[in-house]
Amino acid sequence: MNYDIVIIGSGITGASIARELSRYKLNIAVLDKASELPAGASRANSSMIHGGFDDKPGTMKAKFCVPGNKLWHSLKDELDVHVDECGSFVCAFSDDEIKHLELLLNQGITNGAPGLEIISGDELRKREPNVSPEIVAALWSPEAAIINNFEAVNAMIESAQINGAKLFLETQVTGLLLDDKGNIRGVATNKGDFTAPIVINAGGTHSGEIASWAGDSSFKIIPTKGEYFLLDRVAGTFITSFLFSCPSKAGKGITVLRTAEGNLMSGPTATEQEDPEDRATTPEGLAEVLKGARKLVPNFPVNMNITTFAGVRANTESGDFEIKALSKPRGFINAAGIKSPGFTSSPAIAKYIADMIKEEFADRVKLIPDEKFIPERRNIPRFLYLDMDERKKLAEKDSSYAQIVCRCETVTEGQVIEAIRRGARTISAVKMMTRAGTGRCQGGFCCPRVAEILSRELNIPLDEITRHGGESKLLVGKTKEFLLKKEAK
């Protein structure tokens, strides 16, 4: 399989690069080892579009965060992604911390972040009545926003696909292919070779390992776990924006926020670990989150918790992104070590990489604008958010939109069928594309129904349906078959 560009990883970084490059007449392959998107750090994070004050001027993070923020504010309409433009507050509990707010404010101004302002604790409590009475001041960032990260990654990669990029799931890169001059020729995977003169490493927590295959040992990924609580939508009136504590060396600390879909959420911890795939929550981590949440919001209603989860982010020793082209092997580009504010930065990183290819790799691939590029991508209709007339029209046109599958999030059968049409193959994929199973019963009601629809639409037996690919089958066989088999033994 010959391509112009191979992108390893379809998290928000890889997907954004694919979408940006799909503006040009290129054959693009995006490879991801997961069975559904998003899978890595893009799946489990704070879903924040950062204001751009937190990053030290001169760093890659500072360079991309503010432009990325601006791009998302327009991309949300272009890609039809849910963004809550709610702003964020960094909360100070002491005079020392107020000094820190001033530092962040100045940093933000240098980085070009607009609208920053330090407000009093009382002013904050007017806007967010449930925050701690001990907060004395807060840095207000009006441009900060919260995004539906599940939707965003799927929207980004879908837009790339609409414009010709090819996505290969369950495709794990096992090595790099070099030509006789030692330059990039492609990648080897469990599904065969993908050849291309340019390979972009957007491998997230695995990006360090992939870079090392290219002989680049200039950076090391330190997988860093972040644990979270996710609460019922009913608790979503408690806090209506994004609250940070003053950042420490360990990271931005425990935050409390309302997600783009209206759930209350808190996290993350920042625990360094060896294993990039260890996403288990821990008693210590969850206790730390709860403590941090209660510091900001003393009456944090943890009894309305609906799930806990953990993500692993690709921290680097330098603390900065690792974005560069290697001189040898030529054709290998790192978009590595992308962690917070990675989601925010990704569209800006994508533009930077496209420019890089234009300027530095014209000998390997030509970027000719595709005049047929379609910037718009429409989401699967979200029944919950439609007005009654729109709902009626939809149900008249297609009766599967008059059948609820997920009662917590009011997701219709029509939405599930459309998600499958767009590539969903697992319970989790349907969940991320439609929100079926994200509500307060966490799939107790809709999981069997989604499994039935997957089975019917894909024409595969019910007991072959998986939760998230691999060995994660929901069922182990038919009842009587199972018993008879056992008796035969």
Binding site: T281, A402, Q442, R467
Partner: protein
Amino acid sequence: MNNNIDVLIIGAGPAGVAAGIGAKKEGANNVVVLERDWDLGGILQQCIHPGFGLRTFKEELTGPEYMHRFIKQAHEIGVEFRTNTMVFQIDKDSNTVWTMNKERGIEALNPKAIVLTMGCRERPLGAIRIPGTRPSGIYTAGTAQRFVNMEGYMPGKRAVILGSGDIGLIMARRMIWEGAEVEGVYEVMSWPGGLRRNIAQCLDDYGIPFHLKTTVTKIHGQDRLEGVTVAEVDDHMTPIKGTERFIECDTLLLAIGLIPENELSRMAGLEIHKVTGGPVVNDLLQTTNPAVFAAGNVVIVYDLVDNVSDEGLIAGSNAAKFALGRLNNNAKRIPVKGGENVRLFSPQFVTGESDTTIFMRVTHPIEQACRVFAEPGLYSQRLRYARPGEMNEVKIKAEQIRNLQDLNEIVIDIQPV
């Protein structure tokens, strides 16, 4: 035709079907029961084990058999059922009920009275925040029951059951019958969540170990569940170090409690009780919205379906009275208070318009002779014991209420004697 419905009932489980019968018997003309599933009966459709209807029919029926008797009666007296019809919105001020159905599309109904009979749902894993991974193989007992009894598929081969609610106990036995192994049932409390008879018939008879004051503290496995860690807990329900034990299993079934399902009740602007999780109701099963009634597990989670059906009949009958303008709008509203041993109860108000039963659960077991009573001097009954897993009742006659002119509060409690 949508605007001449006298009584609209949401949910055709045991409470809803009985409410339909109750409304029709009271003389309501047009009684419609909406059901989101393709068939009637609610959760009892998948409860194919016997043990239902001992009180009502003096015999042991399976869930579908029990429901059939009510459904047959409802059909005979002209209750209209609409299946595959989901209510997705109730407008607060107009009481407009929005429904969807593949054939009928989206419709707005404006009944004279509404009965909420949506039942309850199972608490999910997230509610108890167990650390670990999120593999497949973790189901609420009811979801697993649906897979086995309705779809004919096995959720796993070797199960651990967390929580001792009745569905968990029933599913322990079912898994054994279907050839799976059940390693044990683990309950964090020091008393069982379900009925004693289910512990005897579903666990003891099959040699399934039952561990009190023990819980699952960690979940293992990336794709499919590979095992759980269990540990004993102290009196504060904190796991005790050194008691952890790894159990290999591919299935974890959860029977950790039921929650009244009240999304629609909230939309309708009803006051929801903090402890029961259901709408605040009076003894007529009227909610804080006079045109809206509620019955069954949507109000308070019952042990026995017989009680659910009884309450359904009452709610349906009173909803019909309301629709026909026969309900006393100036009824008394005497609050019921729970004493120190009462965890939850329903109804929360008594009118004295009819005889009433107040259902209650104790906070802690009382394993000695005790007395359930309602003050001032309204009811007293001796009991051999009182247990949280088994509801208690207080019965009060309408004339008792009417005779006490200055009655301003009823206190119910259970105390050792």
